[in-house]
């Protein structure tokens, strides 16, 4: 298939439908409205379900129901709306439901603004909702990757029966870039995907020995049972940490004098600065975490070649990923942070200036 020029918000919606998502529930919010509008337009054409829910809270609980019925389902929102979904996300995690949540981040806290930001890193990776749980968090940096992650997120969600968040931002959502879609799943394949989960989900029953009593539930009132349940969740999380860490290494080599760490939109700008410095004979590498949880601690640690004398974290927030980088660096090198907030995006020139201060 040839490339098409599309906004990130529309590309991720199209890719999700192609990956077999036939149910989508959401509430309008800027800067993700093109996503909900695309779904409103396209879902009826593929025999899918689109509901504009009465709230973000209702939308995520519709997701809880549809995921509990074993079907591929997605919701999306932007930062303030994601806060509202956190209750339902915690319930999905507790009930081990495979849901996909797209966050097209904007500036916060509170109502903040509608410009791109990365200020929901803590919320996405360190909890957000109540209780001991983990979300798999994917951070795209291009429209192509945003689209690809729709399918990846659905696959991961079902592989591990766990909610997955795609943490994008208003720039990726609004920006148009060429994107090439993966082939669409056939209706037979979509039906087959749902059948795979009929050993646990809500589905038709039968009398006799094969009769089942499936419970979609996060309540375990007996402390010893809940303890076992949470421990089991963490066995699953350990497996995810072992198998699903993803990152991009950009210009990483033994000559690096500075190692940058940045994700999503911020990483694109850092790359421009790195390219610019390369022409001036200055070697700077970049680790771009693609999974924000599980975090690529090992990748960051491995990239600390002997010439690296500064680690520099760039984010569109006040340093929410900084602690994870420090854990990875483990005191082997000084770690600096610089970021911009309020929905203001730094420029390659500003990053270059910061990096030059370290040479």
């Amino acid at each position: 298939m040839s490339k098409v020029l599309m906004k990130g918000n529309e590309a991720v919606a199209e890719a999700a439908i192609r990956a077999g998502c036939r149910l989508y529930f959401a509430y309008p919010i800027t800067p993700q409205s093109e996503l909900i509008e695309y779904m409103a337009k396209m879902m009826p054409k593929v025999g899918g379900t689109f509901i504009q829910a009465e709230s973000e809270v209702a939308a995520i609980n519709m997701v809880y129901g549809a995921a509990g019925a074993g079907k591929r389902v997605m919701t999306s929102s932007s930062s303030p709306g994601i806060s509202l979904k956190m209750e339902g996300i915690s319930y999905c995690a507790g009930a081990q439901l495979p849901a996909v949540i797209v966050n097209v981040q904007r500036g916060g806290p509170g109502l903040g603004d509608i410009q791109p930001a990365q200020a929901d890193y803590f919320q996405a990776t360190k909890g957000g909702g109540h209780g001991d749980y983990r979300l798999i968090v994917l951070a795209p940096s291009t429209v192509q990757e945003f689209a690809d992650m729709a399918a990846d997120a659905l696959d991961l969600a079902y592989k591990y029966r766990n909610p997955v968040m795609i943490l994008s931002d208003g720039m990726l959502g609004q920006m148009m870039e060429p994107v090439e879609f993966r082939p669409a799943k056939t209706e037979e394949e979509v039906q087959e995907l749902a059948k795979q989960h009929e050993n646990w989900c809500i589905c038709p029953n039968e009398d006799g020995v094969n009769r089942h009593h499936h419970e979609i539930n996060s309540l375990e009132i007996d402390p010893l049972v809940l303890e076992k349940h949470v421990n089991n969740l963490f066995v699953k999380y350990a497996e995810i940490e072992q198998h699903e860490v993803r990152c991009e290494e950009y210009n990483i080599n033994g000559d690096n004098e500075i190692l940058c760490v940045a994700f999503g939109t911020a990483s694109r700008i850092v790359k421009s600065a790195i390219n610019d410095l390369k022409t001036e004979g200055k070697s700077v590498g970049l680790i771009r975490p693609i999974t924000l949880w599980p975090y690529p601690y090992e990748c960051v640690a491995r990239a600390l070649h002997k010439n690296v004398r500064q680690v520099y974290v760039f984010e569109l927030n006040k340093g929410q990923m900084l602690d994870d980088v420090k854990i990875a660096v483990a005191g082997r090198c000084d770690v600096k942070f610089w970021g911009k907030v309020g929905g203001i995006i730094f420029t390659p020139g500003e990053i270059k200036e910061k990096l030059l201060e370290c040479f």
Partner: protein
Amino acid sequence: METIASRPLSLTKTPFHYCPGCLHGVAHRLIAEAVDENGLRNVMTGIAPVGCSVFAYKFFDFDMAEAAHGRAPAVATGIKRARPEMHVFTYQGDGDLAAIGTAEIIHAANRGEHISVFFVNNAIYGMTGGQMAPTTLPEMKTTTSPYGRKVDDMGHPIRMCELMATLVAPYYIERVSLLSPADIIKAKKAVAKAIKYNKEERGFTFVEIISTCPTNWGIDPIKARDWAKDNMLPFFKPNCFRDRGEGVE
């Protein structure tokens, strides 16, 4: 010997955990009987609420989901839309449905979701220990209205059936009670009608069931029923507000 009554197949063997004199068990049984009678046991699913009936998922012998507080109609929407071949009901109390879940119930009803809602109203929060509910009567004492519900300050009780009847989409809305054997027979008819309409995919069906809470009202079960007859029924009048199957608008 002929068996004339037995445990409905749609109930598991798990004993109800409810307080002595509580009517949740009766309401569960009516639903289970109606599911059996309509032959829906293998395609039925229920959504348990947060409240005393939070463990309803253990009591019904078909697939069940446990929802966050008030969110059962949204969860039911998700399940029904994902698997139209399933028949879905929610079972909710007054705090769950008429306070924290007001938005979800109104909008599920307004969309005309093909689900049944069984709303058990006993004018109090039972599980958390007797706090004021949106349906607590004026001057009624609860642990969070210890001097009685003052309507100027705490608002008036909400009549959900009347509120739902302002919406165009709902197909069937009826209020019944469980306060006497005759009332229970009437309630059974309403529950069975809702399940039948559910089976026939007629639309959104809503049955409010006036019940008691002897434990948190602090009166014995028989007196609790008398109290409810004297105090709740004049305010929450049993009535069929809409039944499109019978031409009642």
